[in-house]
Symmetry: C7
Subunit: 96 residues, 7 copies
Amino acid sequence: MQIQPLRDKILVRPLDEEKETKSGIIIPDTAGTERPQKGEVLAVGPGKKDDNGRFHATEIKPGDYILFAKYSPTEIKIDGEELFILGEGDVLGIIK
Amino acid sequence: MQIQPLRDKILVRPLDEEKETKSGIIIPDTAGTERPQKGEVLAVGPGKKDDNGRFHATEIKPGDYILFAKYSPTEIKIDGEELFILGEGDVLGIIK
Amino acid sequence: MQIQPLRDKILVRPLDEEKETKSGIIIPDTAGTERPQKGEVLAVGPGKKDDNGRFHATEIKPGDYILFAKYSPTEIKIDGEELFILGEGDVLGIIK
Amino acid sequence: MQIQPLRDKILVRPLDEEKETKSGIIIPDTAGTERPQKGEVLAVGPGKKDDNGRFHATEIKPGDYILFAKYSPTEIKIDGEELFILGEGDVLGIIK
Amino acid sequence: MQIQPLRDKILVRPLDEEKETKSGIIIPDTAGTERPQKGEVLAVGPGKKDDNGRFHATEIKPGDYILFAKYSPTEIKIDGEELFILGEGDVLGIIK
Amino acid sequence: MQIQPLRDKILVRPLDEEKETKSGIIIPDTAGTERPQKGEVLAVGPGKKDDNGRFHATEIKPGDYILFAKYSPTEIKIDGEELFILGEGDVLGIIK
Amino acid sequence: MQIQPLRDKILVRPLDEEKETKSGIIIPDTAGTERPQKGEVLAVGPGKKDDNGRFHATEIKPGDYILFAKYSPTEIKIDGEELFILGEGDVLGIIK
């Protein structure tokens, strides 16, 4: 099942335990009992218009690692896996 | 009973168990005890004007499969079947 | 007692059990224990101005059958009958 | 004690039991245990300016019979009588 | 202690029992167990600017008797006396 | 520790018991069991821009005695002393 | 793990006990049982656009010591350390 997020929505695979990413980043975290606050971006929407009709292209890219508040994302089950969807405006920072 | 949604409202048949759609998409889901977050679009409103009077035609089409947050839709019983109505702005993504 | 709704208000007779309307529509529903989500429009206000002073005439007409969320309407007793009043913006769809 | 409402405020005598008005309207209602939703307008404010500085004169007139939601009005005791004050924007309809 | 209210704030001495004012107005009220909804204006702020930068001079004057909702004012103890402060926009009417 | 408030923030030393200020003002108050509603201004921010980009310089000055609602300020411990920070828009009046 | 905050977000190391900073500031505080209200800025986002499209560069700098309300920041665990992220608009003052 492939998901195309709409507007500024971002599909994220939450990272809730220590794992080494492709780029070698170590992401330590508590043992899955807390809601994840970090994730890997899987897909992004094209962007959205603000109240004045200006289009803002989404700047987050697939493959980015991001931070977000515990209760910002909407949980959604895709092919049996719990993924997160959140708006770009709820992304707090990029993990480099 | 035929429903014509108003403004940007979208009438959706929720998908709450594994089923194979016409286009062959497999949509696995937990056993109906959770509120569905996926659905098939049955009918859409024409679109709506924003606060500045600009009309935005609805982009979601009947036949699309969509994702939404658990508590975004309004449940409504039509001809004995539980359907969902939600605004286009509450659609998180398209299932391809 | 005749009611003239103001602005975009719509006076509705809720339909909470199976009944056949004049036009032959069958409207099945659960047995009156749930709040109705369908109704017949009895009277409508002329319309209202938006924040920019533009007037929007009400498009719903008396005689229309409409859908609405369970808790959108205000209940009001008129001549001993429980009727509903809601804004046109809370109408989800038209039953055809 | 004479009250001059400000802005778009409307001073209302609630009607909570069956009574025949001067114009012969019969207003049946439940026995005073529910909050009244109908009333006779006693006095109105001159009107108010909207956010863009446009003045909107109050259209409701003293002597009108009006409908309102149960919890819209503020109760206020004037000369020992419970009266209601509400904004014109909370008036749902006119009883004719 | 002399208080100069800011913006559109109004300093009010609440009237919570029957008393005859200087101008001879009789203000009957329940016995001090309910929060007062009437008061005598002691001091007013100069006025305030709206969101568009337009200044609105306060129209209520010291010496006016006013009506307000039970929970609109902020209680404040001045020289041992419980006074009320509220915005002019929360004044419902003038007692004449 | 010296604090420079930002925007329209005001740093206040709350006055919660009777004390004579330098200028001879007597400020009687209940015995410290209630949250203070009066204070002496210690430092102010420079001012802030409104939604239209207009800058509003803070008018309250250090040394002013001010009134505020019980729960408007944020409590903050500075060098072991409980001080208050609140926005200028939450100041109700000036004590003269 | 290096974090690049987005928009006007500020990454902060909370100071919850007495410690002497590099610049010699003594920051006494209660014993870690209360939520910290002071912190050292570790990284800042570039700034953000307001509703009218004007860009506001972040003025807080890494190395600043700041004050904030107890519940303004979002807690986030980075490399096993509890850090805070908050918007620049939630910073109450600068500690000098």
